[in-house]
Symmetry: D3
Subunit: 341 residues, 6 copies
């Protein structure tokens, strides 16, 4: 089983801890991005995973490749091109004060890449599973074309396609609405991952759930999944994450999965001292891809994914630096946090 | 509307994070002090605010001025004089372990300043609102004289006077009891801000509230405000803050306001992961001055002030580094802490 | 009253804050170990305490001695020998992710020390109280012999012996089961300190308590203590700690004490924002030794010990950097965490 | 005397000390840019200086303004617009290893600003001296037009124009050679500042000096200045800096000045332990503007400028954080570095 | 051309900058070791290089592998075994105060590895060049046997063997003198690398050079190389490094090479502001292997090696983080350290 | 041989590395002061040394005592009193930019201590050598009285008195000139330590030496010593340090000693990369006291003192963290800075 993920990886710049920007003249610098985060999760779980993107031909691009290679992600299909490294600035919140993301992605190498830079036939050689998100098609007209070309090529080669719908309202600035693009892209997807807002904004499918409320009515999530699967007959299953945001420090976290035949809801985790919530959804996607490939039971795959992403909330940075044994310990019920020695 | 605040600003020295002193050979160095904290809040809210104090003529004094100027506080009336920069050492607590403040303020420039250094007539030129606290008159005999002279001059010029009573039991060492001074000072005040202990110790007005208990009986706060307003007929309103200290990390926070005609209680915020509690009261004062000048409704002014000070508990340092939109978002009910991107 | 503690002190290496290893190229370096932690607690409480161990004759050993001396621990009986400084690597968890300890203790100076290096008769000169733990006899055959020789010598000289059973399943690798050794050692002990698992694994005495569950049935702890005291007629009392681990951040913490005549349970503390849990048990032992020597009432000694160890959870590092007045304030009921200024 | 400087200010990101990028996950973040650096120098020297630029309307732009305001630079003419904050990445060299700058400036707010955003008539109201550099016209076609428009407007209002030619070979990518633009711009300049390479690349005026050699033949610098002044009859004087780069740590630094009537060479400083060389030229320009406005003698102005920029090499960051008295002490001959206490 | 290096890699622990141990409670943690340092140099130069060792099966071993993989070193032949990670503690000197290394290597996985753990026939499959040092045979009897077995196996397969003699007087504790082992090992070596002391202590070949003096008589180095080559007829060439240590900050650095037919001396570099001298010799070995494989001229290979190792002195950590273009720029004569932008 | 030193110890606050104040919101915090620095030197050299002072009764005072105790300095005669901890702020220079000290010592515990706080008869019990400096009598009238009382008491008990004249022009503000006091104090001194300026300002004895020039004429130093010894017949010897300050990074350092019978000049050390120059003179005093007590030859004592203080320039902080073996290695001629491993 060889997996490929494709998308944009960004330089992430964040003041230390809970400081505001320039409260000290320091930024924590790391890398992250939805699809790269999934790749790192899978590499940490021991899977054979390749990441494809295009990076600028400078020292920051070089270091980004080194970072991914460290985790054992195969970077042999990373291209170098014109443009710049996309950046996001992050300020961490606490209590009632939210974390804030400021994007500086315009003109990034992937946003300006010409579709012909990527020979999908060659890229997909030997690949069994392809993961993409709704972020790439939001970047630019050409990135949208790239995204659609990739899923079409993947389907032609019989590769399983997973997609995290990942709606980002501050992207989608090149003239298309998310739903105009994502409804087409979704028709090539085998495994969909989303939260309720993603489904609504990307696919224009809704049930009456109040996403802004802290407390979510889970019972309606089966109906939502059913509606999506009804609209996309090629889709094999959809997993929907359920985040209840009590405060910047305290989220409750669960998910459900629906493959038409079965609907499962996971355990709900109370995460009361969030360390870093960014990349939480990506760690769910990574956990789900691992789970679907390693467990017989759909519910076991789901519980692995939810436990993996629960643990991500205790890890600094976009990447989920946990192992299969860490995740299985939690999925099997030990969330006591007792010191291991 | 031009506001002036006057008082002592201190160098704040604190070991990093939750370390004890000299657990590492590092101190986080910043500046803060009740009246300066109010000035910075107001500048961050876009108001025209001036800060007046006296600082020693050395490099630390220079840097203090630069820090205030950064926020857009008008420092043209800061004087330089004899004496030293006051210092406070802070050790942050957690759980059942309290934060601890050690003062090193003796001989500070403001404590030894001669009253004639300040020409209040000149200083108040163009000023509409004057804010002072109960800290300055606690520093020394001369500082007490300065404080009284300032409020008298302000009243003569028809300037609105706000005062945070701010009782500090480890100051008041020059031979007067707080109440001997503060009862006179309060007679010049239009807008009083206090907690229950401040009222009791500064004005010797009490109702039977157990301030040391974590849980406060709010109903008695109306009576307390009524008693103060009855004693000080010139006082237009009093706002009383209600802090319930569950632990060093978890406080509940609310306030009430009383202008004789109306009594309002604010929403109560559960702040379970306090980042820095110092300056919390000052951020309330800053929020209240902003609120009273920007909202028709007394209750809206109060809710702005409480939300502003709630957010302060998530900000490192004495200064409240939040914007009007941050505060209004919370005052309008969104305390979910969801990532903004 | 002069106390001696004896055991291994380790170099503790930990990535900053909640980082994973090598997330940055930095480790926080400090020293700690069960018996040294007790010595530092006692020194901080103003008691006359001596620490005995053997350290390698290099710069890291030198610095370890300086660290202990800083707190006022008498280091005149620390020996220098062959071998290396034991190390433990620590990664701090949060929420459902546990803290993890990786030992690097093999070949340490104390593990390879020959018993004749220590002349117990000389070492115990002037000593009134001797404290040891179940960690030292777990290190090696010779360390086990040393441990037994020490308690025998202490008893002969009429010195009070306290022992924290402290079972560590990843030590005990030299061919003996813990219980083979600890049952003999316990017969020389006056004051035993343990949690339920320690009793079971070290003494093979059980009552049916599920130690892995977060919530502990306290009522069975009297029975457990009774059983131990019945088996060890020389033992004067046993204190059992009760940790309920809700998550890596949130533990509830209490203890009980049993001297045959009396059984007391302490208050239970909710520690919801744990700063550093390592050394929590040692701080209980330190508090208990202080308490038994300073209070008439057994219950007062117990409450001091529990409050001391509760506060330790808010302190970074193995050592409990709190004073008698900090502990008494909490034991007397003030856990509000209000700023002291 | 009110001075205006205009140009691009960048976010500067640099690994700590002498680390390579991502050797630790930290970057030192500050701001800098040729014209802003001059403004900060002048503010530190107590002059009345205004900085004009256009910044993106986000939190990084906000913080940039705060940083400038801290020094007392008047930021009332800073505009906010489309585009992004330009960035430069810096890696510090040592010995034979050079420092390296990687630009990430494409799409910056000033590069894409439309000329009509700036009403020069309004901007120059009350201004006596205008400073610009050869960097702005290198950014884009529109930035070039802006630059030319600004100097023309300045000349029309009788404002003194100073310009640091500042040739940057990795800019100038929009289709014009530097000399095509700079030769026109120079015709509006009163005070030119340059090194030999700037003169050659920007004005295409040369004498045979080997700029890559460590050791410079100073005698030819008079001829070079004479040639420039002959070509630009409106130019009142030219100052040429002479850097001999022995290694990344050791530069010798001097300058000469030529106002047709007089030619002076400054003292030469041996700077053997360079702390931060970036901004060295800008600190010369700042020193020269101060000097020309405060000293009768041309040579005194030059010596002030050279001493100011010599000291800059001992200051971290782009900005020259020294005072007039620091500079005068050195210009007057005390470079002993003895502790002042 | 595929290269294999084999040896011990250590955890390197160093207080920040020029601090003494525990001056702050922080250690900079990285990895390094002679043969791994060579592997990283070669990977940075774009060569195909594999590193073989045995590491303990714990989180520190995992992170060591990640670190090497980051640079693109092939880690597929790294084994996991019993024992511990070797450590070295480093304190950086300055001026007359030397840097100091404290080893904590006893019981390391490679020191206790049984020779049969390594199947050299398999390991050398596809390998063209094998690099080893005199450090591994110094670790233990078994490590010595491993080392000899490896060079014999390499010679049998016709692989080029390079060896850095690297005498370490504080190792060699298992009962053999260095020369007893190294004289045998040297008989399998094609390319020897050494300084004068290494030759003397490892091969017992001397000419009268005073190694402790700062200033070295280079003329005698030809004679020394001739003597070695005469004693080892299979040896194809020997490179000898010449370090003149003026102070901890200032070394002069050069080398010579001798292949019987030719003798060359390199340029001498004055390195006056050393950043990190550890790994300097290894970076020479890495440069030489690269040079011998990429340049026709022996002198060009030597100049590349000396320039590479010169630059290493400006890089923090054991690894030489420079590129071929960095090295060639210096080897071609540009050591001016001018900012590249 | 038991030594006592007496004086003021200060909290030292310094921005990190070469940063200016508040360039980051961090200060490095340590302790230092002339006499305490001598005590720590002596403790590091293994001597039995006691430090006497008075400290405020707060947490900063507590930590100061812990710091001294760490080195093995006997702190049993440190008193706690009224007043505050003196502070000095330090900004490190480089190249032509000097380091700058800003004192914040007014109102310190020792400055306001009443002479009767110190019972010299008791304090000197068991003491053989007493060391004082010219700093304490400069602090205040009472501190001057204390100083004189102490030397008189010491002489009466036959204790050897050493004094570092240490003239500080920014102290001496209470109304006496230095020479009015120091000429009396010197009459009780056995061993005087000074530089040329100290002699001139404290004793008003001069020969024509230009102290501000970088290069010192050493030959005149014999004459200077002779003059002092002639004026103070009780004085047994005087040591004069010779600092030539080339820049903030580069000082040359030597000393001479004169006991009437003999005059010696030491070797001169070129210290080209100074790490921290503060405490350099104190480390000379510490080295001299050690040397005079351990070597037969006056010249050997002098060379030890000069080598000790040479090494101090490579150590961060006021304290000289070197050992006797470090110093003897240098005094014996090995200043090559070669790595020790």
């Amino acid at each position: 089983m060889k997996i490929l993920t494709f998308g944009e990886i960004l330089l992430r710049l964040k003041p230390p801890g809970l400081e505001r920007f320039f409260q000290s003249p320091i930024m924590e610098a790391s890398f992250g991005g939805g699809e790269a985060n999934v790749a790192v999760s899978l590499a940490n779980f021991g899977m054979d995973v390749q990441y494809c993107t295009v990076l600028p031909n400078n020292v920051i691009g070089d270091e980004c490749i080194k970072e991914l290679r460290q985790f054992g992600v195969d970077v042999s299909k990373v291209k170098r091109g014109e443009g710049r490294m996309g950046i996001y600035f992050l300020e961490s919140g606490a209590n009632q004060l939210p974390s804030k993301v400021t994007y500086d992605r315009s003109g990034s190498s992937i946003a300006i890449a010409q579709p012909e830079l990527f020979n999908w036939n060659e890229i997909f050689d030997g690949i069994d599973w392809y993961h993409i998100t709704g972020i790439t098609p939001a970047l630019s007209e050409t990135a949208m074309e790239l995204s659609l070309a990739s899923v079409k090529a993947a389907k032609e080669k019989g590769i399983t396609v997973s997609c995290d719908l990942n709606f980002r309202k501050n992207l989608w600035k090149y003239g298309k609405k998310a739903s105009e693009v994502m409804r087409e892209l979704a028709s090539y997807v085998d495994i969909a991952i989303a939260n309720e807002e993603d489904v609504q904004k990307s696919l224009e499918i809704t049930v009456d759930i109040d996403v802004e409320s802290g407390s979510l009515d889970r019972s309606k999530y089966k109906a939502l999944g059913d509606k999506v699967l009804a609209s996309y007959p090629n889709m094999k299953l959809i997993a929907i994450t359920l985040r209840e945001s009590k405060s910047a420090d305290h989220n409750d976290w669960a998910a459900c999965i629906n493959n038409r035949a079965h609907f499962y809801e996971s355990k709900k985790y109370h995460i009361t001292d969030i360390v870093d919530r960014v990349g939480g959804g990506d760690s769910f996607a990574g956990g789900l891809i691992y789970g679907l490939n390693h467990y017989q039971e759909l519910s076991a795959a789901l519980e692995f994914a939810v436990a993996a992403s629960c643990l991500k909330h205790s890890i600094i940075g976009d990447f989920n630096r946990v192992s299969v044994s860490d995740v299985e310990k939690l999925a099997n019920g030990d969330g006591s946090g007792r010191v291991q020695r």
